[in-house]
């Protein structure tokens, strides 16, 4: 344990802060399900890229800045502090696809895709879940049949966010139906514009189509789209999910700090902070928000070089989800009857019902902690 006092990092933070003060867009992200969300997110990503702030810890040969995870964390903090827009449609590209390609992709895949992600050219979506296989990834049934130098994909994927505005998808398909459940899967790069891809938006609880069901009808992709090798997709997917445990989504987690501060402000302005029941919950929320940041530091500090984050870091996600649910419910309670009028906090509360579900339910996350961290039987 040691407080950092290096002038370089202090300078880096200052530099980031200054750039953000001048460059964070004035307009907020459009509340829309049309192509303007892609345009907005891409423009903001391009601006960061052109300013030299994209892929802080990605290698320079792929367009990154080649700094350490530490600078990346500082950049995330400054993004949040500046109330900058989040990655939006680029979430999967930065949090999932990029790290997976870096860890498991071949040189051609890396050279082609990583710079396009950084420059805001190609957003990615994720195609893991299926209607019959939510948390149970090993039960996937979408088929991939090798035919010459192509894979022919047939099946359907669900909960694919922003599928209609993304260029690429990370797709997990079953290539060997004879193998044991978690074997015989393949992780591939899907060009979402290929013939046979049929994207149908799914309207969420808040009335907006955040996700899609995507049908693949004999979609032919070149074998060169396979990451690592055919039938080794489970292991690649584990890299993807491990990346999720990494600090990749930190900027989104840290957004909760901003929301807590907004609630505290509001409670102070309205005098509600004098209500002990509100103050108690706000204090818990704020302490939890502080811990989100401390956990990121702790995770980075204890990460083993070159190793994926261990199962114990699943605690971060579990805690974040619980805190988030309590926080947005607190927002509802602070609003009182006004919550019934689609207040932004109401929308946020509704959206957060996805938090304990998407990307593996909280139930499963707790199983993982129980089994892999504490050694409890399955």
């Amino acid at each position: 344990m040691e407080l950092d006092t290096s002038p370089q990092l202090k300078d880096f933070r200052e530099e980031a802060r200054t750039w953000l003060e001048e460059n964070v867009p004035d307009e907020s992200r459009p509340l829309s399900s049309g192509p303007e969300v892609r345009e907005y997110d891409a423009a903001w990503q391009r601006r960061q890229y052109e300013g030299g702030w994209a892929g802080i810890d990605w290698k320079p040969e792929y367009g990154g800045r080649g700094l350490s995870l530490i600078e990346q964390v500082i950049w995330y903090e400054e993004l949040v502090r500046a109330r900058a827009p989040g990655p939006g449609i680029f979430s999967v590209a930065f949090g999932h696809a990029g790290p997976t390609l870096m860890a498991r992709g071949d040189e051609r895949q890396k050279t082609f895709h990583l710079p396009k992600i950084l420059s805001g050219e190609t957003p990615w979506c994720q195609g893991f879940s299926e209607p019959g296989a939510g948390s149970d990834l090993a039960g996937l049934r979408t088929r991939g049949v090798v035919d010459g130098d192509e894979l022919v994909i047939t099946g359907s994927k669900i909960w694919t966010s922003y599928a209609q505005w993304c260029d690429y998808g990370e797709l997990l398909v079953r290539t060997d139906p004879e193998a044991a459940k978690h074997k015989g899967l393949t992780w591939l790069i899907m060009d979402m514009r290929l013939p046979g891809v049929d994207i149908r938006p799914i309207t969420s609880i808040d009335g907006w189509p955040h996700n899609c069901e995507v049908f693949y009808d004999e979609v032919r992709v070149p074998l060169s789209s396979v990451v690592d090798r055919v039938d080794n997709g489970w292991s690649v997917a584990m890299s993807t999910l491990a990346a999720e445990r990494g600090p990749g989504f930190l900027d989104q987690r840290l957004q909760l700090i901003v929301l807590v501060d907004e609630l505290v402000d509001h409670a102070r302005e309205t005098g509600l902070i004098k209500d002990e029941a509100v103050a108690d919950r706000l204090a818990t929320a704020r302490a939890s928000a502080a811990a989100l940041r401390s956990m990121a530091y702790y995770q980075v500090s204890t990460a083993k070089k070159g190793e994926a984050p261990g199962a114990e870091t699943t605690a971060i996600r579990t805690f974040t989800v619980q805190m988030q649910l309590e926080l947005t419910r607190l927002a509802i309670d602070i609003l009182g009857a006004r919550c019934l009028e689609w207040h932004p906090w109401t929308r946020r509360w509704l959206l957060d019902f996805a938090a304990p579900i998407a990307g593996g339910t909280t139930d499963i996350q707790k199983n993982i902690i129980g089994e892999r961290v504490l050694g409890l039987p399955r």
């Binding site: 296989a133 799914i202 309207t203 019934l340 689609w342 579900i357």
Partner: protein, 325 residues
């Protein structure tokens, strides 16, 4: 001893209203009505048919055109209205007819009971389910008032089965003093909330019996099973206290207010948690617009906020010096 088991006749009210709602106002119809821009929560024809069934006049006295029954019977109806998320101003019209009758305007009470006038309700700075020409109910600790609604301006609200608006109203048309009117409202809302808790309990249990993950029906996983069990517990507790409160409020006994507030408090807590857990039990599908889970969540949110802040309910619960047997 007080008998809290619904009688055959009371069960009949529940069964008949359930059948009518399933046929005439299923959730598919509620969704259709919600999709009409500027449309009513429920169409006039259906509203009149509900009135013809006596739903708005169960507890009205016979000289005001009512059936002369009590709050217990209304509870049986409102439990079904909650369970099936019936749209439209049922609760405010039933309470409004009572205000009119007890305020001395039997003709108005009859008009409301027959479905010729509808009664919306105030909700903070907004109103719900009120159109120009309708009446608007305002409740406080001393009783209730009805106003004519003059103009309304639609506002988007979260519950698709409820119409939200800003409204202007005229002077009170009729008022009545009734310190138990709020208690009565709490009981009706608690009945709706109980219906919601029961509905999501059954929805979750059905799904948990059939949805397979990791080679088993998810109801075999204790986390899912216990969330379902918690819903069953909440329903049992709420039901008992609700029925108790309905009888005590109707009889106007000393601790009626306390029991009604207790029922409402428990009903809110049960429905709040159950509707949220129901989404969790369903996974991704429970989070879609197409699935009904969110409709229950949103209606429960409405019913939680419809009367006043939770603090007023707490005050009513804490008011008596001690629990009287």
């Amino acid at each position: 001893m007080t008998n809290l088991a619904p009688s055959q006749e009371q069960q009949g009210i529940a069964a008949a209203s359930a059948t009518f709602l399933a046929e005439q106002l299923p959730l598919t119809r509620v969704r259709e009505l919600a999709a009409v821009p500027g449309g009513d929560a429920v169409d006039d024809a259906t509203w009149r048919r509900c009135a013809d069934l006596g739903w708005l006049a169960l507890s009205l006295s016979e000289d005001a055109g009512g059936l002369g029954l009590g709050l217990a019977e209304e509870v049986m109806l409102f439990q079904q209205l909650g369970r099936r998320l019936a749209p439209g101003p049922f609760r405010s019209s039933v309470l409004g007819a009572r205000v009119a009758a007890r305020g001395g305007d039997a003709a108005l009470a009859t008009a409301i009971g027959e479905g010729r006038r509808r009664v919306g309700m105030r909700l903070g700075e907004l109103v719900i389910d009120a159109r120009p020409g309708d009446l608007l109910l305002e409740l406080d600790e001393t009783g209730g008032r009805l106003h004519d609604v003059e103009t309304t301006e639609r506002v988007e609200g979260v519950d698709p089965g409820t119409r939200f608006a800003k409204a202007t109203t005229g002077a009170p048309v009729v008022r009545c003093d009734d310190v138990l009117l709020v208690a009565r409202a709490r009981v009706l809302l608690a009945a709706e909330l109980l219906g919601i808790t029961e509905a999501v309990r059954d929805m979750s249990a059905d799904y948990a019996r059939t949805r397979v993950q990791f080679g088993k029906a998810i109801g075999a996983f204790q986390a899912v099973k216990h969330r379902c069990a918690d819903m069953a517990v909440a329903a049992y507790v709420t039901r008992a206290q609700l029925f108790q409160a309905a009888l005590l409020v109707e009889a106007g006994t000393a601790q009626a207010d306390f029991h009604a507030a207790s029922a409402y408090l428990l009903a809110v807590q049960g429905a709040k948690r159950s509707t949220a857990d129901n989404i969790q039990n369903h996974g991704g599908i429970g989070y879609t617009w197409e699935h009904d889970a969110h409709l229950y969540l949103k209606r429960a949110l409405l019913l939680e906020h419809l009367l006043e802040t939770s603090r007023a309910t707490h005050r009513a619960v804490l008011a008596p010096a001690r629990h009287e047997f």
